[in-house]
């Protein structure tokens, strides 16, 4: 049994809204996988189904060969959810001890506190923590049981730059022990830096799946746009470095993987143009173009 997670044709509807629209994916044990996508792409819904918190409308979800609920009951899963709060009137240490008591083979308390950088806050009450500190406590709670699969939904959302680095360093150490880690993020950099594999989700579907470098290439292009003034779209498509041409009224948008060559060619080609603009494809835009491509297939 080498598979940690397997989703087959998984879909989830919220009333008329289809949040997840048929996802197939399989994650091998020991992989560190990023679920990358813009807000509202279906990442959290997918994660909640994976944890058994939500029932899929269609399809099947398997974790370590069984149902998510079975894997959770067996203590194989630890998770850090977005914005989950903690009980007031308890200290950080008490919470960590509770988490340890719930799992069969937990990590030592000192190690958990050190990993999540909480040693100095152990005696602090949970309702007296800052946002970043609370986020670290969530990490500690997820980690405490030494789970085989660690699921993190937007783990660095409330962290400043320094804590972010500390967090990823800790996550890396954990992943290095052979554990499977799945984290959701909307930062391409994070996904690229910390995951062996990046799965891009947009509009409830997997639109790309590969190494960080693969995904970067897919999304790293620029957009050259200008008022067309009668230029021939087919000839624009033929310019070097152009991946795709989109016409929005009079405006032509060329998605390019090598915008320098495209612009040089455009200048020497003699095609009419006005109001030239070159923009880096934001991640959002890259996601949208990936989804558009996925829709055409």
């Amino acid at each position: 049994m080498t598979e940690a997670v397997r989703l087959q044709a998984v879909a989830k509807n919220y009333g008329p809204v289809r949040a997840v629209d048929g996802i197939d994916l399989s994650i091998a044990r020991g992989q560190t996988v990023a679920l990358l996508g813009p807000n509202g792409a279906g990442k959290s819904t997918t994660i909640n189904m994976l944890l058994g918190l939500l029932e899929p409308t269609d399809g099947t979800v398997q974790v370590f060969g069984g149902s998510p609920a079975e894997a959770v009951r067996a203590g194989k899963v630890g998770a850090m959810l977005q914005e989950s709060g903690f009980a007031a009137n308890a200290t950080v240490r008490e919470l960590v001890e509770l988490a340890r008591a719930l799992y069969r083979d937990p990590l030592p308390t000192a190690e958990i506190l050190a990993t999540a950088d909480l040693a100095e806050l152990a005696g602090r009450r949970l309702d007296k923590l800052s946002g970043g500190q609370t986020q670290r406590v969530r990490f500690a709670f997820a980690l405490a049981g030494n789970p085989e699969l660690l699921v993190l939904d937007e783990p660095t959302a409330a962290l400043d730059v320094e804590s972010r680095q500390a967090f990823w360093a800790a996550m890396r150490r954990y992943a290095a022990t052979g554990r499977t880690v799945l984290f959701a993020t909307h930062y391409l950099e994070e996904a690229d830096d910390f995951a062996d594999r990046v799965i891009v989700i947009a509009r409830g579907r997997v639109v790309a799946d590969g190494s960080g470098a693969d995904i970067k290439q897919l999304t790293g292009g620029r957009t050259v746009s200008f008022d067309r003034a009668g230029a021939d779209p087919d000839r624009l498509r033929g310019l070097p470095g152009v991946v795709e041409v989109e016409l929005r009224g009079e405006r032509a948008l060329l998605r390019c993987d090598d915008s320098d060559r495209t612009v040089q060619a455009l200048l020497s080609d003699g095609q009419p143009w006005r109001n030239l603009e070159i923009t880096g494809a934001g991640l959002e835009e890259a996601f949208l173009s990936l989804t558009a491509t996925a829709g055409k297939e």
Binding site: L51, G52, L53, L54, E55, V72, R73, A74, G75, V77, G78, A79, L81, E83, S84, G85, F86, A87, A88, N89, A90, E94, L95, E97, L98, A99, A101, L102, Y103, R104, R138, F141, G145
Partner: protein, 243 residues
């Protein structure tokens, strides 16, 4: 599960706000009302001081048992209960611990009102009667614990508190905890005997009168336990499916 129970108990002890409503208030009402009724004789074959002691203990127990709903709805809103659902702790264990805690909150008012009655108002019973009183009032509070859970798993936090307060006052008043059923208007009295609050206090009134609780009353209380327990289970499943 034991670790979770200990964790929750420790949190409960740190929440002083609850003590005001479950201990201080019933003791205060008891002191005031029985102070003015010193020579009032008997109600239903029991000294007024003892009768009122049970009424106020039952009232405090009601407040305590229903208060579980407030913490459940807060923990639901904060996401803590969701976090617990992704640990090996089963949802049934979480709900069982909550119900146990809620029923435990019924004990301090019984003990404290009893202590005031014994030391300040000359109420005296055998040790066996005191023990029976505490145990029966504890077990008898379970339907209210279930009622609290049903509210907590249904309502948002800002509604749970006022609704439980209304529930407590409605049940206490209509159940004859503030005004004995014997002096209620006929219509209200005929409603009172079907209410769980009345049958709950009846457990205590029977003990202080030196009798076993009537089977009919126990049956009515048990029926309410089933109704509230069913509601709580339904509310729990509904809330789990939503999130």
């Amino acid at each position: 599960m034991r670790a979770y129970l200990v964790f929750e108990l420790r949190r409960l002890i740190r929440e002083p706000r609850m003590a005001v409503f479950t201990v201080v208030l019933p003791v205060l009402i008891y002191t005031i009302s029985s102070g003015s009724n010193e020579e009032a004789g008997q109600v239903g074959g029991v000294d007024v001081a003892a009768y009122l002691m049970v009424s106020m203990a039952a009232y405090g127990a009601l407040v305590g048992a229903l208060s579980v709903g407030i913490s459940v709805s807060q923990e639901r809103a904060s996401g803590w209960l969701r976090q617990l659902r992704i640990t090996p702790l089963s949802p049934a264990q979480v709900v069982a611990v909550k119900a146990l805690l809620a029923s435990l909150l019924a004990i301090p008012p019984v003990v404290s009102v009893g202590a005031v009655a014994a030391f300040a108002h000359g109420v005296s019973f055998s040790a066996g009667q005191w023990a029976a009183l505490v145990v029966l009032m504890w077990l008898g509070s379970l339907p209210f614990a279930a009622f609290g859970l049903a509210l907590g798993f249904t309502l948002p936090p800002q509604l749970t508190q006022p609704v439980s307060m209304l529930g407590v006052f409605g049940l206490a008043f209509l159940g004859g905890l503030f005004v004995p059923v014997a002096v209620m208007p006929h219509l209200l009295a005929s409603i009172a005997v079907w209410l769980p609050s009345n049958r709950f206090a009846e457990l205590g009134w029977s003990v202080v009168a030196g009798q076993a609780p009537p089977a009919g009353g126990v049956a009515i209380l048990a029926a309410w336990a089933l109704i509230f327990g069913g509601l709580a289970a339904w509310a729990y499943r509904r809330s789990a499916a939503l999130r």
